[in-house]
């Protein structure tokens, strides 16, 4: 039971992080390779707020996430002002993620550099994670379903026309980046209070890749798709514990297979709820056909 709870807890944290990446990468089409940097910032600041500032656990986590949001706005300003898109944006964010890792590895006061910050109290429980995940998912779902979400898709598909329709491209993209900064920071902070230690290498570029993988696996116009993928990807290391060495190889293989057969992601544009409704209608139809068929036969 304890084991299952742990996997669920990790899955929940992963879902929180991925939900923001859905806004940024899925809907907004901005591929970022530095999301782990936001997780680091959120984790370090939340831990410091709690340990040195004696701020209560949940408030510290929230403040950590807000600092990470501020970092997103700070990096977003020069990057988006200069209209960097596509690969250029990805590389800038990769640089940001690496910068965060190197700075935290060499910053001795408070966070103890490469030695890592230890002795963070274990406060994150399954209940906390479940409640936080539900709240974050509720907010993100509403945002994506509103006109703001549709506008993001429009910008991804045809930026020139979207701007001519009256959208402020910079502010729309900035919000997407800030939202992803918030959820990643939030998830990172929650994880720090679960793991009780925080090293500069806890969130490396592999973590950023993981987050993007979840969005791409799940589908770019969907929230429930990436959420499923987030759960699967969080459980994967546990399932594949026996061949930990081969894990990344299997990831790579999965990536190639999905890109070959479902380039728009497992769920593409669809939401799970909609698909379940369709399945239910289909079952009802088959059922109706069977019963009427029987009557006619009788």
């Amino acid at each position: 039971m304890k084991y299952t709870a742990t996997v669920l807890l990790l899955a929940g944290i992963n879902m929180i992080a991925v939900s923001g990446c859905t806004v940024l990468t899925g809907y907004g089409g901005m591929f970022s390779l530095g999301q782990a940097g936001f997780m680091s910032i959120g984790a370090y600041f939340a831990a410091c707020f709690h340990i040195y500032g004696h701020i209560p656990f949940l408030l510290a986590v929230l403040l950590g996430a807000l600092v990470s949001t501020a970092a997103a706005v700070l990096i977003g300003f020069p990057v988006l002002k200069n209209k960097l898109t596509g690969d250029y944006f990805a590389v800038c964010m990769l640089g940001f993620g690496e910068a965060v890792r190197l700075i935290s590895a060499n910053f001795k006061p408070y966070i103890k550099g490469a030695m890592g910050l230890t002795g963070i109290p274990r406060k994150t429980t399954l209940t906390v994670v479940v409640v936080c995940t539900l709240v974050v998912l509720f907010l993100i779902r509403n945002y994506l379903k509103s006109h703001y979400g549709k506008n993001l898709i429009a910008i991804r598909q045809q930026e020139v026309a979207a701007e001519m329709m009256g959208m402020n491209i910079m502010s729309n993209k900035m919000w997407a980046l800030a939202i992803s900064g918030f959820t990643c920071g939030f998830a990172g902070a929650l994880y720090a209070f679960y793991a009780t230690t925080m090293y500069p290498t806890t969130y490396g570029s592999a973590k950023s890749t993981d987050l993007n993988a979840a969005v791409v696996f799940g589908g770019v116009n969907s929230l429930s798709g990436p959420m499923m993928a987030a759960i699967i990807l969080a459980a994967m290391p546990e399932v594949l514990r026996a061949f930990a060495m081969w894990r990344l190889v299997i990831y790579g293989l999965l990536f190639v297979v999905i890109m070959l057969f479902r380039p728009e992601g497992l769920f593409g544009n669809k939401e799970i709820a909609g698909e379940l409704k369709r399945l239910w209608r289909w079952i009802k139809r088959v059922w109706a056909w069977r019963t009427t068929g029987r009557k006619e036969a009788g």
């Binding site: 509720f138 907010l139 779902r141 509403n142 945002y143 379903k145 509103s146 006109h147 703001y148 979400g149 549709k150 506008n151 898709i153 429009a154 598909q157 045809q158 020139v160 026309a161 979207a162 701007e163 001519m164 329709m165 009256g166 959208m167 402020n168 491209i169 919000w175 544009n269």
Partner: protein, 262 residues
């Protein structure tokens, strides 16, 4: 009767390196006019459009809309001033449905705050319903209502052009720029488009600036024409004046043909 000019192009020169796309172009479009901008390939018509919508900044001169300069403004600010356009190479949102395309024109700046969106307040649902309703009205006017659930990218070419006009009108502009709306259309589709544009012009009292190659279409549609050639204004006037002008004929047909024509 002279009404006030909606857009005024004043001595605009646009230079890309050593290439002058436009040099010293001046014309003005008055309230409610259907104005045609014509000229052979490479005359600088689309560059002029791009300058009016903020994607190109003129080297010299000024463009005034309602008395205010549109230079150094972002496209979305220009849109809010009341200018909307279509593109020569269609720029729809290809993977969105036909209806969603028009909806984007209606809610590019949503009427509620982001906080309301996050919390999913009732205003979000209500606005969404109203937007859908209004989008359907637009589609109905353009005869695209039965295609509303199709992906915009899978529509036939002529319909994509129509949809783009519908989407441009959805931003409720005061001034509409159409870049070759009849490009790639056959004769029937072209006639249909003329009727549609006249209808739109009547219903919305829309001041319209039109780039076009089809002389017939321009002649039957526009009140006034401006002919560009090699970046300069060649002639301005009513369609019948312009069509008879020997220099215009020369620019369009070449010297040899002109002699035969005369």
């Amino acid at each position: 009767m002279e009404t006030k000019p909606v857009i005024e192009v004043r001595n605009v020169t646009i230079q890309f390196g050593s290439l002058k796309a436009n040099s010293d172009v001046s014309f003005s479009v008055r309230q409610g006019e259907l104005f045609g901008l014509i000229g052979p390939n490479g005359a600088g018509k689309t560059t002029m459009f791009n300058a009016m919508t903020g994607s190109v900044t003129p080297t010299q001169g000024d463009i005034l809309f309602d008395g205010k300069s549109v230079l150094k403004k972002r496209a979305d600010e220009i849109c809010k001033m009341g200018i909307s356009r279509t593109y020569q190479n269609i720029r729809l949102f290809p993977q969105m449905t036909v209806e969603e395309n028009v909806e984007i024109g209606l809610h590019a700046v949503p009427q509620y705050s982001r906080l309301a969106a996050f919390l999913g307040l009732p205003v979000v649902k209500r606005t969404e319903r109203e937007t859908k309703q209004r989008a359907r009205e637009f589609l109905n006017r353009f005869g695209l209502l039965d295609k509303q659930d199709m992906k915009a990218g899978s529509l036939p070419y002529a319909m994509q052009r129509k949809l783009e006009i519908a989407r441009a009108l959805a931003t409720s502009p005061k001034f509409l720029l159409l870049d070759e709306p009849a490009a790639g259309m056959n004769n029937d589709e072209c006639n249909e488009l003329v009727a549609l544009l006249q209808q739109v012009h009547q219903d919305f009292h829309m001041t319209t600036l039109l780039i076009e190659h089809h002389m017939d279409l321009v002649a039957s549609l526009c009140d006034k024409l401006c002919v560009l050639n090699l970046g300069k204004v060649l002639r301005q006037g009513t369609p019948s004046q312009v069509q008879k002008d020997p220099e215009v004929i020369q620019a369009y047909l070449g010297d040899r043909r002109r002699k035969r024509y005369e």
